[in-house]
Amino acid sequence: MFDVKKLRADFPILSRTVRGVPLVYLDSGATSQKPFQVLDAERYFYENSNAAVHRGAHALAEEATDAYEGARQTIASFVGANVDEIVFTKNATEGINLVAYAFSNATDKARQGIDVDQRFVLNPGDSIVVTEMEHHANLVPWQELCAKTGAQLKWFGLTDDGRLNLEPGVIDSSTKFVSVVHQSNLLGTINPVREIMDMAHAVGALGMVDLCQSVPHMPVNVHDLGADFAAWSGHKMLGPTGIGILWGKSDLLNVMPPFLSGGSMIEMVHMDQSTYAPAPQRFEAGVPMVAQAIGLARACDYLTNLGMQNVFEHEQELTAYTLEELAKIPGVRVIGPTDMHARGSAVSFVVDGIHPHDVGHLMDAKGVAVRVGHHCCWPTCRRFDIPATTRITTYIYNDKSDIDQAIAGIKSAQEVFGSPIAVGA
């Protein structure tokens, strides 16, 4: 196991104060803080090798290209992927949209009689399956796709303890695509994605997994997920903003219509038509985010040095402690699994009589940064009949004293509001 106190020294921001008190950062599910090693890697690139990649014959262009493609290799190895299966995107949202637009564009082309891979063609009567715990990023693109193609959106509902209700009949012979979240950013639930992907493949559908909350927090091998595509973001795993990853099987990536078209993604260009490069270049039009890729690769190295199994165990211990301590406060209810079975580190809760915004605001007064709101999971909140939650998310740099501060913050909110509160109708 790693030494939390020691590694905290790698994160300059953790030593600052907010509102006159030391910062307790418990919002890593929204974005993680960055160690100086990642910041230095980006700075080193700009100071020493900065050039546009995949063009130019000069020494800097070669160095930059090597650094960029080397970063792709490091990131691929981190999740057990082949290097040509890793597409750099702006963020996870863009990765999911890239796949949604492959369906949309293939369907448009098919309707014009252009020969496309039929696996990406949607017709009225076809269905796309998601779950009721998806982040808006893995819901709205599929709603849009259905609206454009006439396909129908279906979803797995949730049990009262925040698990998927994998009822039969949701995935059926009409299903062409299934996209599910690996770990819920609101509930913390870790879903049986392999089982769901197998269900998809059994009816001939393709499948995708949203890995935003799993890759940063546990060992993930993309080939073990049983999926065809996966997407996640760099900034939640110690990396910079502005970079995400789409993983896809090469045979699929190479038959998908392009998403963004332009320079760098072509094979041959004529005035009337063009052909496209194989993946991943096929999906990386324009000068890409080189420094961010290098920063993200350095973040992968940082996590590899800690050991992802160690990261997982560290957070499991913290999450168990968080759940235990929350259970001791009268009037606090956890939304999501209250035991540690198949559960990650996002812990959402509501406090009787105090709106989550007020809870978060009063925790902030104690220096404790937590997320409040619907966490881009508005339908999930609606499922639990709550407007919003307050959410604690931990990472490698948190320890039990941070949780103690959070608990003290919740109690102070109850004091301000005078608990228990009967709120008028």
């Binding site: 989550p356 915004h357 605001h361 301000v416 008028g424």
Partner: protein
Amino acid sequence: MSEDLYQEIILDHYKNPRGKNVSIDALAESYQVNPTCGDEITVEIGQNTDGTLLVSYDGQGCSISQASASVMSELINGKTPDEAAPIQEAFMELMKSKGQLEPDEEILEDAIAFAGVSKYPARIKCALISWMALSDAQIKAELTSTTTTRNG
């Protein structure tokens, strides 16, 4: 300290909302939502025979948004549009003040408790949502002030 935000007046209006969900003969209504946090409010507006305003609201959200709606309904109910306008203007001014304005209690009464809110950019929208709904409903019902131009 942030606790200053939660003045007694605000907590009192939150726990004991005034004018909420009152049945009125409405001429128009406005539904407003804050998509970042999910706060929702519907303000209904009507007119008494003497020309004064009738205001009712319903909604859910944080203490700031709910207390602000309660204070708003208390201040605006029974006022003519011309009497309401300076109050609405003063509240908008206060929210834009970044904590630098001494609110006029003569005009704003209980609403002076929201002075602290203007120091927290993330919470200003909470305090304003019901007032925005009020302005919108007034425009729809053509019950705006005839003497003042407001920017609400």
